[in-house]
Symmetry: D2
Subunit: 172 residues, 4 copies
């Protein structure tokens, strides 16, 4: 950590935070009103979360369920989505994944869809619990997963503070 500026990606083996999953709103995901069919926004958010597990945490839903010696499933128990601004075909969004709460047997994520103009199109808050996939019974969040979640949350906080400082310095 010595020396001058280090980005989160240099300070840790993990890629930069926050994780931004890029998506272009598809023609086939929009309805005859030419806006996204809203349930599909929630599909997008879960696609981003699937990618976060795979590309950031390094262990996907598939790996967690089927390839780990101590398998762990993370079924959703609650999802909410607030739609702030409409999305049309071809709109480019970043789905920004955040960790809101790390419980004993549950995790709360946020997935914000940010448009190119900086406005939030929709925000998903989602709670999953951790289960033994064979018996579908609750188990504590595994230590390795908790470590990754905490590291990610800390990286996001650092990035947010750095962004704030940078905005101030520029007189923003």
């Amino acid at each position: 950590m010595a020396g001058r500026t280090t980005t989160p990606s240099q300070a840790s083996p993990f890629p930069p935070a926050p994780f931004r999953y890029k998506k272009v709103v598809g023609w086939g995901d929009c309805d005859p009103a030419a806006v996204i069919y809203t349930p599909r926004a929630i599909v997008y958010a879960n696609e981003a979360l699937d990618a976060w597990y795979r590309d950031w945490l390094g262990s996907s839903w598939y790996f967690n369920n089927f390839k780990l010696r101590s398998a762990v499933g993370t079924p959703n128990v609650y999802t909410e989505c607030t739609y702030f601004n409409p999305l049309h075909p071809d709109d480019r969004i970043d789905l920004v994944v955040g960790v809101k709460k790390i419980g004993n047997k549950s995790i709360t994520f946020t997935m914000d869809a940010v448009r190119i103009d900086g406005k939030i199109a929709f925000r998903v808050i989602q709670v999953c619990c951790t289960v033994d996939p064979k018996r579908f019974r609750g188990i504590p969040v595994p230590a390795w997963m908790r470590a990754g979640l905490e590291s990610y949350r800390e990286s996001c906080r650092k990035a947010a503070r750095a962004a704030k400082r940078s905005t101030k310095r520029q007189g923003g």
Copy 2:
């Protein structure tokens, strides 16, 4: 057809309440954990709501947006879903549509997925607003839609009271 008793369907031009949309959980709607991929539960709920507009209210989303002289769109501004019990392929559910709140420019619906064993698999609460589809600006809930919503809510209440009386009479 003589006598005093009338079922809700006889007392009104509308079909019986509550509206139950039947669905069998598809193989393709389940993920490798062999349970429903949870975002698709929200797709199911919206399919049921689309059917409610069409089959109960008598005016579908398509009709409201494109065929009415005074067109009205009902885009979702908020959706939440709580998952109580898992759903597997071939599970038969009734999606029971309820009207929770009729606002000035918004409507709150509930869609409960009831399994054959009477347990609730998931419950969706969803708020839509009423808009002029051409300008995507809020407009008051049209009078004809409000009348239908109130009639439906009243029919559901009557049906609930009748079900309660019937349960009591049977010493339940």
Copy 3:
């Protein structure tokens, strides 16, 4: 209908043929051109086929893969779809399932989407092979499945002949 003649449903423990899966085209299945997003027509056809296995053959994809002592999977190896007439939201269709060919290790199905005006909206031809799901290797079509497929195909032929006779008798 007097005398000895029996309808296919009386002559066998199976429900009447052909199997017709009813579907209403959803608002969310249509794109901004207000016609069905064509890949979803193929999703509809597979939903109908899933229902055919479950409701006609009596053994669903889920059951075949996970509940049978001698498990059998039927992954698709080829799908084609010809679109003849457009489908709009609220259009009611029957997806009529047919068995075109019963091979040694493969089955060819047809799924015709028939509109209420009798016109075919789209026709899907699909070939699946039969595999041992654990090793994902080809196995012969199991005897019980072959019997059901042949019985269904025969029932469809009988129904077609009866329909033809009935049309003739009416001077059609």
Copy 4:
């Protein structure tokens, strides 16, 4: 970079050919057999084609239908898909778009899903026709679209010849 050789991207204002749309197979796109639910492969292929129009041709389905002065729709009239090798969650594929035939009022595309090991997972062949979206009647492929299609097909051919030469030179 000296000399006469130019890559397709230097010789034209268009990006390099062939267009490769990258996709990771999602957990939610796979069924309980832990392979892609095959109709969703066709959804993937159409997502790639939507991206090709937008990112290569420079005029998306949405733009073509709603923003052009001379609007043009390209509804599919035929789709086929051959599944060669299974896809599991997390598998990375390139969807490679090809132009097979440019007719008077129709276009035939191919979308090949190439796995990281170079094997083809599935191949989609799809025919669309060109229509006036307001009247849903056939019109000739517009000149600007034909020019783009021909340019793309030529770029793909050049790239294929260059790849062949490069393989030969390396004694491949």
